[in-house]
Symmetry: C2
Subunit: 407 residues, 2 copies
């Protein structure tokens, strides 16, 4: 398994495009509609926000995915089409417009939107721009790049990646584009992620693999604790790699899952690292927990703590906030068995042993926490389970970005 | 029932003091130890943080409250005595030192600490300053003021209040001092609150009344979602008002509870309003919910949303974030029945009806949200229950304060 170039166009038979049609009227990133198309029909699956308030495109996707098949994904940024007039009607019209230029059925198209909530989507702009979007479709790294840019909101960097592995003697590729930034939290924070693969895999197994991969990647990041109305991760698998179709959890499934998880973890880390205004990627590893679930709950509580995030922003080794966040996570544990250290490329420093503060070199701690990628390492002393979660710091820019998002 | 002056010294028979002994070495507010003493023995009760990681003073208080009696409260700011070496030993020594100068048993003294976690408490400074603290004890508004200042950390204003009511023909007073600010969240955010009353009431009933009052006041505020290791609310009742002792939930209990709740709500609002760096007090009222519990969960989710808080900071009527936060609260409801309006002294404006955005006057909305006290009013259309919760916005100052708290 290795990372390769090409993003969402890495897999055989997939084309992509991203253009500006006019949904965004004020953003720095002008592209606002992306289209991803497979030459041939695909097994398809999606995982979506657990928020009770689901954006209209998600309700449409749940319908379109009932047969486990699709050929294309159309997505816009600049407007979330959530709690907005004509929501489902306009989401269906996006699918229909894409289907017309591609030449497939409307329910073979999946749809996503991201941006401000509660405002009417400029459907005329999307319909009016559909032909030029279709004309821009190609299979190239540049096309993947355009699609990645077209789904960005406050993201400061595009998110795309691809992996290649061997399954049943055949070269299989999986690629994707994603967007993250604010409102990102486990259970699908505002993130969109569109994955493509040429692996031959049944719709049941691709759904299963997507659930498993999301659970250890996108569901283990947090930017600000807000779970959005629009979060979606969807995958298309067209089978053009020519491997024997994966229809159960055999060795081929395991190989596919390994590659898919690696891809999703890469994209999830990029989302956390590019949390709105973030200056640090924070990796929290909890070891010695009673169970993976317990380790995950505790690690998420630590990376989600606003006080911990503010301390990381200040490069302040305020480990007491980590212990405090562990304590209100809802998990039972003995605080007097807990060890904590901070680490980065600049070294590692133990700050708490057996639940008590250690004397440590503050200058060294500051140096360690001044790196971009910092680690909070927690040993529980309760058992043998572990989990890694990713988050970011909270900065003045986060508040600036979110204090005036709509205007 | 009316609000009166005098704070924690308003009730007959209570003296207070606040002095600087040297625990704080860098804070703007120099007073760092407070003492509150009753002339006579008191029925006593406390409610404490639900965090698994409990500071040492709380573990000591739980012991000292087992007999439902106490005479004094000693508290320091500048150091939380949580996850710190010699925690319980030093908390006990604070009680013993206070008991010695007061002339009571050590287990008649309750103790609290607030400040940084994980550092050794300067117990020598507290013991060394105990006589001067005792010498400063008096029953006066100035003494209550001194105690209120001595427990402040990043609070920008002291928090004290008192109420007077009539129970069984006797004038009964309840007063208190409190501190709030960062790390404040329902289930006792970092808050300390010390209440005194001359009401004659059994230890069982004062505990019951404290639980009831805290549930609708301190447990309905949120500053940053972090539940601290040290949160404590304690009450001393010395019976000097001369009313017939309240020993069950009769009419006198109801009158006492009404006054206690009004006092606690006043103090809770002051805490929310003075959240670290806050520029706005946010009152979220949820009406038409299926149950009070449901209304409370939803209101808390809205005031706790970092994105909603950032929008309030920016005076941005981004009601979609309220709907989003409702949606991930864990409560089930029909988004298409939800109405939302924003209000303040500058007026009220409807922004969402039946789960869909309304066209509204953005300039008017901005004017409404530019007031210090702003309201988010939510109608669910699900039932007849309602709840009010209080929070604040998140600002650059919050991050500044918490990015470098320890140095």
């Amino acid at each position: 398994m290795k990372f390769i170039e090409g993003g969402v166009c890495a897999a055989t038979g997939f084309k992509a495009a991203g253009v500006h049609v006019g949904v965004k009227t004020h953003a720095d990133w002008k592209k606002d509609v992306a289209l991803i198309v497979s030459e041939t029909p695909c097994a398809a699956a999606g995982v979506f926000t657990k928020n009770v308030v689901k954006a209209a495109p998600i309700r449409v996707d749940l319908e379109h995915l009932k047969n486990g098949a699709a050929r294309a994904i159309i997505a816009n940024s600049g407007n979330a089409n959530a709690c907005a007039p004509h929501g489902e009607e306009y989401a269906e019209r996006m699918c229909a417009a894409a289907a017309k230029v591609i030449g497939c059925a409307p329910d073979d198209v999946l749809v996503s939107s991201t941006g401000v909530i509660g405002q009417t989507l400029n459907i005329a702009a999307i319909e009016g721009g559909m032909q030029s979007l279709c004309d821009a479709l190609e299979r190239s790294p540049e096309a993947s790049d355009a699609a990645a840019h077209a789904i960005m909101t406050t993201d400061t960097a595009k998110k795309e990646a691809a992996v290649e592995t061997t399954i049943g003697g055949k070269t299989v590729r999986i690629g994707g584009v994603a967007k993250g930034s604010g409102m990102s939290h486990p259970n699908m924070g505002t993130m969109l992620c569109f994955l493509t693969t040429d692996c031959a895999i049944s719709s049941g197994m691709i759904h299963e693999a997507l659930l498993e991969a999301a659970a250890v990647s996108f569901n283990r990041i947090s930017v600000d604790g807000d779970t959005s109305t629009n979060d979606s991760c969807m995958v298309l698998a067209n089978g053009l790699a020519g491997n024997a179709e994966i229809t159960d959890k055999n060795g081929d499934y395991a190989a596919f899952l390994e590659a898919l998880q690696a891809l999703c973890v890469r994209l999830a880390r990029e989302m956390a690292s590019d949390g709105e205004g973030a200056k640090h990627l924070v990796t929290c590893t909890v070891k010695g927990a009673k169970s993976v679930k317990s380790a995950e709950t505790i690690a998420k509580s630590v990376i989600s703590s606003t006080l911990m995030k503010a301390a990381i922003f200040g490069a302040d080794a305020n480990w007491g906030r980590a212990l405090c966040a562990m304590g209100y996570s809802g998990e039972a544990f003995d605080p007097e068995k807990v060890n904590v250290s901070f680490a980065s490329a600049a070294g590692e420093i133990a700050v708490c042993a057996d639940g008590r503060g250690l004397d440590f070199d503050e200058a060294k701690a500051k140096q360690i926490l001044s790196e971009h990628d910092v680690e909070i390492n927690i040993a529980m002393g309760e058992g043998g389970a572990e989990c890694v979660c990713w988050g970011c710091d909270i900065t003045y820019d986060y508040i600036k970005i979110n204090g005036d998002y709509r205007t």
